[in-house]
Each structure stands twice: as C-alpha cells, then as structure tokens.
C-alpha cells in the first residue's frame, strides 16, 4: 500500500504499526513512517498554545497534590505525565462539542474552560459535581469506570437525531477497557455510526494492576476492529501527534464517518492517588525510564528550537499558570459553607413528601442543638 493514501475496510480499522509520534523525546521532528493516515503536524503557533496548557496542567497537578497534603482536598488522582492527553482532548473540540471525562481528567476539564475552584468541589468534599456540565459542555467527572462512555454515546446519538454536527470525545483509562460498559459503548457507537471519539489513556496501570494483566490484545487500539471502528495508537506524551490523530478522528466523526478509538501510550508518573503507594507494585527504575519522555520537556525543546520559546516567554507562561494556581489555592483555602438542607434539595425536581418530612426533622434537630426553641425552628426546605 502506498503511503499517504487512506486504506479501506479492515486496514482502516487496524491501528498503525507503531504509535504515531511527531516530536521525539529530544524535541526533534519525526519523519512519517508506517502511518495508515497522512496525519498533519499542527503548526507551531498551535503547539505553543498547547504548551501553555501543558504548563498550566502540570502546575495544577502539583498544586492539587500540595492541597491534599494541607488537608484542603480529600484526595487527588494526578495526571502528572499525562498532561498532553488531557490538553489535546480539550483542544480538538469546538465550543458545541462535548467532553466526557473521568476523575483523573481534571486538567482536561480545566482546559475546556471550567473554573478550577468549581472543578475541585468533588475532591474538596463540598459536593459531588461542582460545575454545571451544560455551561462548558463538560460532563461530570465519572468515577464508576467506563460508565461515562455510554453517556457520551447517548449525547452523540441525541446530536445526530437533532441534526447537529457536534462531536463527543470520551476519556477512559486502560483499566476501564476491561469493563462491560466499554464494550457496550463502543458497540453502540459503531452500530449507530455516532460522532464519538474514544480516547484511552493507557498509563500502564489500573491502580496496581499492569496492562499485561488487563488484556491479551496486541494493543488496546486493536480492539477497534472488533466493533467495526477505526483504532489508532499514538504517543500519549507527544502533544503534536495527539492533536493530529485526535483531530483526524474528530473530523471523521463530524463528517458523518462514525466513531473512532485512539489509544494514547503514556505513563502515570505518580501514585493512583495520594492515598496509594506505587512502590508496592513498580520500581523506581521503571518510573525513571519515563522521565525523559516527559510531554512538557519535549514540546518545550521543540518550540525553543523553532524560536518560539525563550526565557521571557517561558516566564510569562509560568506566571500565568502560577496565577491560576494561586486562584485555586485561595479558593480552596477559604472555608467552605455547606447548607445541610442541600441534602434534600436536589434529589428530585420537587422534594417528595418524605424528603420534606426529613428536611423538617433535620432543621428542627439543628435548631435544638443551637439552643433555639422548637417554636423558633423555621423548618426545612424552602
């Protein structure tokens, strides 16, 4: 098959021979070879914009870890090392498109425009979903693995029925590919030929379980052919390659070409969360192998070589990231006000009579514990 032509049928469904890479670990350009599609590297201005998001994402990951240690967040599943996947997922979408993230995808959520303090409410413990999904078309961060992929399919199905040309991008990890909902979501998306792109961040671990114990497939991208959808694999630490491959998948979806799945090879540089101890299941030497492949370092080198990134620009980008981190810090350091009546306010559109009773009970209990008389207790839901 000659290069730069798009294969039909089964050849399109199978991934390229190697993960697509456009910028190597030293920042050098990679020549095309063995790619099944003629992916086009984004221009350097777009990559510089992406680099700013990467720096911010790294800063947010670091800041959130610090806030856990300070007791301001209950827990944080860091995407340190996976920032390129996070940023690319947001950058390839338009304002009418939807993102369906998981708990590890906070950086992608922020890159889509969600307010950082709002996004951290779940991990802060003040509510479950802290931002309005409809505002930036970012679904709530899903904790039950792979369940959100079906919601993405449904959103895409609704868009198709309404005649809209919006696209849905759904995120999951390598562990989630073992879940039944992963299978059902990809199958439904393919059967109805829906505009969905599934981005699997293969970071090698599902908490402690390595990929080798998760699947016997040649690669996760090979699973696409089983559903009749194109699968592709990409260097998940190479923002340029991610933007190119995901952009192609998004274009295909928007043009009516149906769903795609993309496996991004990356690595979870830190523990599953701060409550996890990764030294119990992997060696420091293994982690060290991934340090030179860092997504920020390589893109920074590339942009510096291209003359777009010098110390001044780097300082400006760092300062912008620092100001967002400061805003997050200040927002989470402020004492959170919770309203006990919120327990009952949102379960149904109109609280049931039973919830109204329980609401009044709690209001009365709180009033009595505050020393008020029962007569003064203005009870319950408004």
């Amino acid at each position: 098959m000659p290069q730069n032509t798009i294969p039909d049928g089964e050849a399109l469904l199978l991934p390229s021979g190697e993960p697509i890479q456009m910028i190597d670990a030293d920042g050098g350009a990679v020549e095309q070879g063995g790619w099944k599609e003629p992916y086009v590297r984004p221009d350097d201005a777009r990559l510089l914009s992406g680099y700013e998001h990467l720096v911010l994402g790294r800063r947010i990951n670091d800041q959130a870890g610090a806030l856990v240690r300070q007791g301001r967040l209950a827990v944080y599943p860091s995407s340190h090392g996976q920032e390129a996947c996070q940023v690319a997922a947001a950058m390839v979408l338009g304002s009418e498109d939807w993102l369906f993230p998981t708990y590890r995808d906070t950086v992608a959520v922020l890159a889509r425009g969600v307010d950082p303090v709002a996004a951290f409410q779940m991990l802060r413990g003040s509510w479950h979903a802290g931002y309005n999904p409809m505002e930036h078309k970012v679904a709530t961060q899903a904790t039950p693995l792979a369940t959100q992929l079906l919601h993405a399919v449904g959103m895409a199905h609704a868009a198709k029925l309404k005649g809209e040309d919006s696209v849905v991008l759904a995120l999951c990890g390598d562990g989630a590919t073992s879940e039944g909902d992963f299978h059902e979501a990809l199958n439904f998306a393919a059967v109805y030929r829906l505009p969905v792109v599934f981005l699997i961040q293969n970071n090698e671990f599902a908490i402690s379980v390595p990929l080798s114990q998760q699947t016997a497939a040649p690669s996760l991208a090979h699973k696409g052919i089983g559903y009749g959808m194109p699968g592709e694999r990409v260097d998940g630490n190479d923002l340029a390659a991610l933007l190119a491959v995901l952009g192609s998948a998004v274009d295909r979806a928007r043009g009516g070409g149906g769903p795609s799945m993309v496996e991004a090879h990356t690595y979870r540089m830190q523990s599953h969360t701060n409550a996890d101890d990764a030294t119990r299941y992997r060696s420091d030497a293994e982690v060290a192998q991934w340090v030179p492949r860092d997504p920020l370092t390589r893109l920074g080198r590339h942009l510096a070589a291209a003359g777009l990134l010098d110390e001044d620009v780097e300082a400006r980008i760092a300062a912008a990231a620092e100001s967002v981190a400061a805003r997050l810090r200040d927002g989470l350091n402020a004492e959170v006000e919770v309203d006990p009546q919120d327990l009952f306010a949102f379960v149904y559109t109109e609280p049931t009579p039973q919830l109204r009773e329980q609401s009044a009970f709690l209001a009365d209990e709180l009033a009595r514990s505050a020393g008020a008389t029962i007569e003064n207790a203005e009870g319950g839901l408004r």
Partner: protein
C-alpha cells in the same frame, strides 16, 4: 480532513448473512402503524401503554422509544407495536442486546435534550443495567445540584403469575425503591396504564415504570378522550401547568405520581396492594363481602413517592390493615408500608399490620408458583387473624 469510505452496514443487524433484506420484508407482514383511536374503547393494559407512548411521541418529538425487539417486532409483549411504523426508526428503534448500554445511552440522550422511554425486556434482564440505574440515573440530578435532570422512563415488565421460567418473573421493585432519586410507579388498571405512563414520560425526573405482566392482556373500557384531556398539547399534565382553575369547574387533574387510590370501598379492614396484587386483593374483598365482611382495597400505584396520606387515611378509617405484595417479604416494599402504617396509625389500629407476601425464596418454577404467590385464601386468612373480638 480525510474522507473515509463507508463500510458496508446491514440495515438490520439481526438479518442472517446472505439473506437479502427485501426477501425478509416480503416474507413478513408489515407492522401496522399505531392507530389513532378515540372515544370510549375497550383496551388491553398493553394497548393502553402502547397508546400512551404513541400519544406522548405525537405531542413531543423529543420522546424516543428504544430497547430490545421494540422496533420491527413491537416488543415481546407487543407494547411498542406499530410505533416504528408510525414514527420511523429514529423515534422507535431496536438496540444491540445490552441493557447497561440501553440505559447508559438513554442517560446521555436525556442529557442531550431527549426524553427516552426504554424497555427492559423482563425484570431480571434489567439487572445488567443496575450500575447505570443506581450510580447515574438516580443520582445525576442530585450530583449536579439540579443542573442536569434526566427525564427518562425505564419500562420493566415485572412479577409473576404467568407460568414463566426462571429469570422472567422477579418482583424487583425493592431494588429501585431503595434508591433515592428514582420515581417508581406500577399501574394495575387499564386507565392507569395510560395515565401513569404519560405522567412518567412527562416527569422531569427518571421513572422506573413497573408493568405487571400478568395483567398485560386484561381488558377494560376507557374513555380515551377523557384520558387525553388530562394533558396539554405538549404532553404535560394539564393540572400542573395550568395552575388553579377559577372557572367554577373542576380543576384539571394533575399527575398521578405520588398518589395512591382507593380501588374498592370497605369499612372493616384495609388491604394495601400494588401492581399484580391489586386484582388479587379485590378478588379477596369480593369473597369477603359474600361472607359479610367489608374490605377496603388501596392501590398504592406510586411506590416512590409514597402517598402516606391516602394510605394512612384509609387504614385509620377501618383500623385494620393487611399489606399484599408478590415480592419476598424480607426488607421489601411491603415491609416499608407495614412499618409506615404502624408508625403513623398505631392509635387507630385494632390489630398489628400483617403482610401477605412471597416467601423469601427465589421466584419458583412454574409448577410451584401457586404456592408462592399471595392468594385470595391467604389474604382472607390474614384478615381473619386481625383480632376480631367483637
């Protein structure tokens, strides 16, 4: 942008390879579109559900029906018969055979502005969708502080009494009523089948709609014009959106959600039942009447929200109560009803509240179900045990 040649898709995934779809179409009679019945009609319970969906789809283009075999076949119980023929495959369609997929996709479609009505083919076949039901469908409104509501309906044929083999007769309501965020309804009459399904579809919150399959083909005369008059042209319950009626006439009826009804008047004791047990309770009341005892029957019909007011008023009026349900009694809906009535009506009660339920065993094989199901005799024996000193 790349252009990709379109892979060949069979239009009907169920079509065996090599059989042209035209040949299959010629072999099968085309399903007739749902007819536009009006006025007073004798309908089956299943037909009332069918018309409720057709009318809701007519009123609101966001209403979609999907599930396993609901399209071409019209559902294994024919409840969706003719919907695809009338509204097309984008409004009523078959899905791959995966219940979690059905409910998860419905969740996303509801987020995307649709109002999905999905069918789980049988009670026990809904279990693969349990995670979507409990972790997402039930919680989405609460998780998002009301910013994302899920107006979807999950129709589930449930309960026994039809001689079904295993996995086809479960009374699974306890799982759903125990899950905050779900509305759980179960009609028992033909008129309620129509009205309650329309109310469910109009609800802004997710509804688990339990259809007692034993009564699917029971018939009753209903005035369709009167039932339809309960709804606006857009499909909302007229009584809710129109507010107070000051025209001197009766206020338009509002949603049945959260309301129980007295299905039969009586003065000596109250039988509290729902779904498939309502008919059994009424039969028991008829037998008791012949023996000189007047039994009242309450049809709970809305399990969540529960109508404490109507149920307790009924029990207080008689002073005695028996709760009847097919499901195993331990930690069940019947247990909850008995507890609520005991707490609220204690000083009106002449005897402890009793329960007649299924035994705490898996739903039995067909030749054994007669020993399991609440029967008229078992209900009347319970009534006899309500401490009749006078």
């Amino acid at each position: 942008m790349t252009t990709v040649s379109e892979p060949e898709f069979r239009t009907d995934p169920a079509a065996p390879a090599g059989v042209p779809s035209e040949a299959r179409a010629a072999a099968a009679p085309a399903a007739a579109a749902v007819e536009r019945l009006t006025g007073v009609q004798t309908l089956t319970f299943a037909k009332a559900l069918n018309l409720a969906m057709a009318d809701a789809m007519e009123a609101d283009s966001r209403v979609l029906v999907f599930g396993e075999d609901v399209g071409t076949l019209g559902g294994v119980f024919r409840v969706t018969d003719g919907l695809t023929a009338r509204f097309g495959t984008s409004r009523c369609f078959d899905t791959p055979l995966a219940e979690s997929g059905i409910l998860g996709m419905a969740t996303g479609m509801a987020m995307g502005g649709m109002r999905p009505v999905v069918e789980m083919q049988f009670d026990a076949f809904a279990y693969p969708a349990f995670e979507q039901m409990v972790s997402h469908v039930a919680k989405m409104g609460n998780r998002t502080r009301g910013q994302v509501r899920l107006p979807l309906v999950v129709r589930i044929p449930y309960a026994g009494g039809i001689g079904g083999v295993e996995h086809h007769c479960d009374s699974s309501e306890a799982y759903y009523v125990h899950t905050p965020g779900l509305t759980v309804l179960t009609p028992s009459t033909v008129a309620d089948a129509y009205v309650m399904l329309r109310d469910a579809i109009a609800s802004p919150d997710p509804v688990v709609f339990l259809e007692p399959k034993k009564v699917y083909f029971s018939k009753a005369e209903v005035d369709l014009d009167a039932l339809r008059a309960r709804y606006t042209a857009e499909g909302a319950p007229a009584g809710e959106s129109s507010g107070g009626h000051d025209d001197g006439g009766q206020a338009a009826p509002s949603s049945t959600i959260g309301t129980a009804v007295v299905a039969r008047e009586g003065t000596d004791a109250t039988l509290i039942a729902y779904g498939p047990s309502v008919a059994t309770a009424i039969a028991a009341a008829e037998t008791a009447a012949a023996e000189g005892r007047s039994l009242q029957v309450v049809d709970v019909r809305s399990l969540v929200p529960f109508d404490d007011e109507t149920v307790c008023a009924a029990v207080r009026s008689t002073g005695r109560a028996v709760v009847i349900a097919e499901a195993p009694g331990f930690a069940s809906m019947a247990a909850e009803i008995a507890a609520r009535v005991s707490e609220r009506c204690f000083h009106s009660l002449a005897a402890p509240v009793l329960r007649v339920t299924g035994f705490d065993v898996p739903y039995p094989a067909p030749k054994l179900e007669q020993f399991f199901l609440p029967s008229v005799d078992r209900i009347l024996d319970a009534v006899d045990d309500l401490q009749w000193e006078d």
